[in-house]
Symmetry: D2
Subunit: 351 residues, 4 copies
Amino acid sequence: MSGNTFGSIFKITTFGESHGPALGVTLDGVPAGIELTAEDIQKELDRRKPGQSILTTQRQEADAVEILSGVFENTTTGTPLALLIRNTDQRSRDYGNLAEIFRPGHADYSFFAKYGIRDYRGGGRSSGRETAARVAAGAVAKKLLAKENIMIRACTSAIGGIKAEQFDWDFVEKNPVRTADPEKAEAMAAAIDQARMSLDSIGGMIECRIANVPAGWGEPVFDKLDALLAHAMLSLGAIKGIEFGDGFAAAQVRGSQNNDSPTPEGWGSNHAGGILGGISNGAEIVFKLAVKPTPSIAQEQTTVDKHNQVVKCAIHGRHDPCLCPRMVPVVEAMAAIVLADMMLRNKSSKY
Amino acid sequence: MSGNTFGSIFKITTFGESHGPALGVTLDGVPAGIELTAEDIQKELDRRKPGQSILTTQRQEADAVEILSGVFENTTTGTPLALLIRNTDQRSRDYGNLAEIFRPGHADYSFFAKYGIRDYRGGGRSSGRETAARVAAGAVAKKLLAKENIMIRACTSAIGGIKAEQFDWDFVEKNPVRTADPEKAEAMAAAIDQARMSLDSIGGMIECRIANVPAGWGEPVFDKLDALLAHAMLSLGAIKGIEFGDGFAAAQVRGSQNNDSPTPEGWGSNHAGGILGGISNGAEIVFKLAVKPTPSIAQEQTTVDKHNQVVKCAIHGRHDPCLCPRMVPVVEAMAAIVLADMMLRNKSSKY
Amino acid sequence: MSGNTFGSIFKITTFGESHGPALGVTLDGVPAGIELTAEDIQKELDRRKPGQSILTTQRQEADAVEILSGVFENTTTGTPLALLIRNTDQRSRDYGNLAEIFRPGHADYSFFAKYGIRDYRGGGRSSGRETAARVAAGAVAKKLLAKENIMIRACTSAIGGIKAEQFDWDFVEKNPVRTADPEKAEAMAAAIDQARMSLDSIGGMIECRIANVPAGWGEPVFDKLDALLAHAMLSLGAIKGIEFGDGFAAAQVRGSQNNDSPTPEGWGSNHAGGILGGISNGAEIVFKLAVKPTPSIAQEQTTVDKHNQVVKCAIHGRHDPCLCPRMVPVVEAMAAIVLADMMLRNKSSKY
Amino acid sequence: MSGNTFGSIFKITTFGESHGPALGVTLDGVPAGIELTAEDIQKELDRRKPGQSILTTQRQEADAVEILSGVFENTTTGTPLALLIRNTDQRSRDYGNLAEIFRPGHADYSFFAKYGIRDYRGGGRSSGRETAARVAAGAVAKKLLAKENIMIRACTSAIGGIKAEQFDWDFVEKNPVRTADPEKAEAMAAAIDQARMSLDSIGGMIECRIANVPAGWGEPVFDKLDALLAHAMLSLGAIKGIEFGDGFAAAQVRGSQNNDSPTPEGWGSNHAGGILGGISNGAEIVFKLAVKPTPSIAQEQTTVDKHNQVVKCAIHGRHDPCLCPRMVPVVEAMAAIVLADMMLRNKSSKY
């Protein structure tokens, strides 16, 4: 049983391979009456698209979206939306030599073990390119959430060992790293460029904060808001960890230090990151993600081929030396999709 | 839309409140032909039940399970199993004074905001007691996985700042902390006891390792194996973070350091924790969890009541000073439930 | 992937075998704030329970329900309800001789083919007794729908070739056949009794009408209201056909005869049975069901056993000579479950 | 919660409006390793496409399908398939005058009541044109089922009161009515043409038979094979009734007449239509459908507009005078989708 659908009421199904004809997504459960144009979606896709700076892949894709259904006179009708993004710059020749080998750090071997066949061109379905469809869907979710004044913001909070220490959200879109710390942006960019020049890649962290979520969203016991956000974020191939609020630091302290108490004016502290018992408590939602270094690197590595023979390989496609900058809008999109769903799910909580 | 069901094919639905008549779970999708007795389930419940040592709550519950359906002549029949655990030691008087207030660090406020009504006795549905039903379900999942030789083991890997440095799995059930490090067990136990004597609680970490999972389990793109495990673990109220393999450490290194390569004899390294592209790769699955300190503490705290008035409160119920020891079997159970589902889901991956 | 869960938001999972310890149901997604007592449920169960008259099975079951969770101070809390019905009059000896044979007209062979094992006592999971859990769940759905003034009524509309020609709904609970036609009740009862005395059984029809459903319930395209009602009704083992409004008669006429037109005062005709394009249109919902004769009959029949040998069999358990009278409340329950779900699903149709 | 997804493992999501840019479907859960080309799909679409004869609508649509994903080197890869069909002959001017009125017998009013907005061009999402996406998906299901030798055949079994009395399956594609009775084909065609010339339409029946389904498919208790087939068929807008095997005739007989008994050579009779207890028993699956007359007719009718004013209307678009001929492949497609899903679901029934 396959897993290309996400969400319960606001429900998306994505499709498409890196080097196939197109990527896309159907969205079922978008309420009627939301104003929506292709530009609303394109704006978010442009934040994710390749070729934005020297810090990202040089693949050229317009990532132009077409709305195929579900919108009439710039308004959603309650019927499913289908959003289509054609692939245009598929240099499959980059990948022909990879048909026989399992790239280190990639899903090649696990896909092959699972299906017995794989579209090896650019990683096929396991390519990061698949996230374009998520960003398109997230743009629709953001439109719905905007009606409730909800604001989702993510940024690169670390590159390698360099960590952001301040959060100037207006700065995020003004620097190619998409960090929120103006004093660290240059060093972060340099670290990425050094990795790139070493024919290598580098890991980092992304932090996401969500403001104005009302208390009461999230469904006990299995579909807790944090459980769904963790599901959404770990469904991104490069994410290796998530923590909410104080996260792993909470494991080192006592209850008297970690408990958040309500006060007549709101929450006095926010160690929990805005979620208690899996339900939003009205405080800001905060989580942090570990992003692994891009597995595709140009330096020579050792692996095996389909015949279990040792081979050397160097990945000469066009790859991001660090995934964080382009993943920032993807993280926001997945958060938006979870929250849109939780908003709609909460509509039947009480009579 | 409520969230008390988990899984796609191996699908569980839990019910029950801390101080209601009973807890339980229905399991739909358990294949016919698995040998199963109440003792198989009871054995796991006994590992989770309260009152095992001074390090855990003193509530006395037999947690005796009854199989109501789905088993005939000690074998599953393919029809749904219902497992029932009666509550017997409900001292609701412990909680009467909490009907009006929102306990710090608890789900009281968020439940109230969501539903407008809550069963305040012992946390109602948000009580950790709810996990008994998960352990019962997990015991069935373990029976299924045992047929595939899969071994799931968890242990307490840290208490406060004291971290395990070795993994002697045979030691886990021989110490009340359920750590795998014989040299740290005493210090860990002491840290818990100190917290308890200070009318406080303490956080910790749990590590889980799963051996013998064949390559190919997990469903791209949204239902990646790590995404589902994260969903399952973050659905436990006290878990604040999860990381797979090197996890957050991977965010600080380069691709050349983090990539795992297959070799003719298997994987040469396991930075990824056994999952690539969301699909098991045949290496050991490894993840770590941050467990927050128990929010219920006996020392006085400040909060507000339903009328938004500031009040003092001290939680005098019977609570675990540290959640880790009793959560170890719960973590194993949830891992087993995810893997059982993934095993069955994988049956239709290829023709 | 098993199928013991029904519904999307108002979601039920049933369990239990005819001669196991108990039957029951969990209901997830019941909104908080609905007044509910065990009596509300018992009342409906009493309509379905065996032994009501000579026209039904003589098995004696109190079918007493216990609410295990989800209700606090006689009000639903938004957490899952579990409803338990213990089996008390299991004469398994009636069935021991049927362990080896496949009864004519029964699910014995198909269950065996599917699972390789079956609980043969009283049909196990395929027993009509399973519907007790549905009736319990339906009683909860009815409480929710009552808040919207929705009224669901079913009756026996034919026994063999004897058809009801008038609908006096007040009469239904006053006669053992549960027909709405006072002039046909006696003949219908006689037909059932004749079948019984011939060691045989007889088929019939049930008609269901639902008043006050607002226009707009039902979800295009696959989850049309009539599609879901058909799914629900055909999930009852004895139902062999369903038709909405004019049903099969509509196949014989022209569009000009079959079209319903809205008028300023409502619908001018109701050939469609209250549903157009899968969505309620505000007119009364009307559907009719074909109920096959009970397959368990006391007269001798020929079949094969597990070794594919021809054998004679006569079914000496306690069986209903006609299923209609006791299925009337079951049909109402399933209709209520569908409508409760559709009501909640419709909450996110528009912003 | 919207309903544009159908199936549990073999899962389809359709999208598209009659006069929007395109229709299509994503299929998730198609196993890897099935040979598939666009021609396999086109062949089925050509059976459904408009303009095949004078008995069908004169709208001209090539209904050319494009496979956007999930197929590599003419073989499915286990990733989702997206199938796209562009609309090319949208004469929206035909519908401009219908923006304000609710057509008799149509979903116009119920859609408006539900969503507060509707794409009125050609019925929008409620158009029969939506079934093109189902046929495309069904073609993929048929490829999967062909590997198991399963054969699904439907035909027009009645037009108005004229009923087929023999089943020559080879004849079905050789006559424009798609009946299987060569002796009735001419009269049926004449009845349709008479309706058309009267500016009217006519109803009919479709019968579907499925051979070679092994015993054991179908899931108790809610997802019985007949329940799922009923769900699938009633999700087609024009279907008003369904019956399995003897169907409504079974309501008039006794158990001794209706029971099917297995014999050493197979089933001795097939009153049940190949399904007992919701599970296939190995006999041929047989069901019949009532198809209402096309609601769009050119003769003048009375209805109301959005302002609840009485208006006259005549529907001058291009419509089928009888839906049966073009629905035959749609019925087969939906049956194939159900069976493909049931085949995959059954894979986890026993260990």
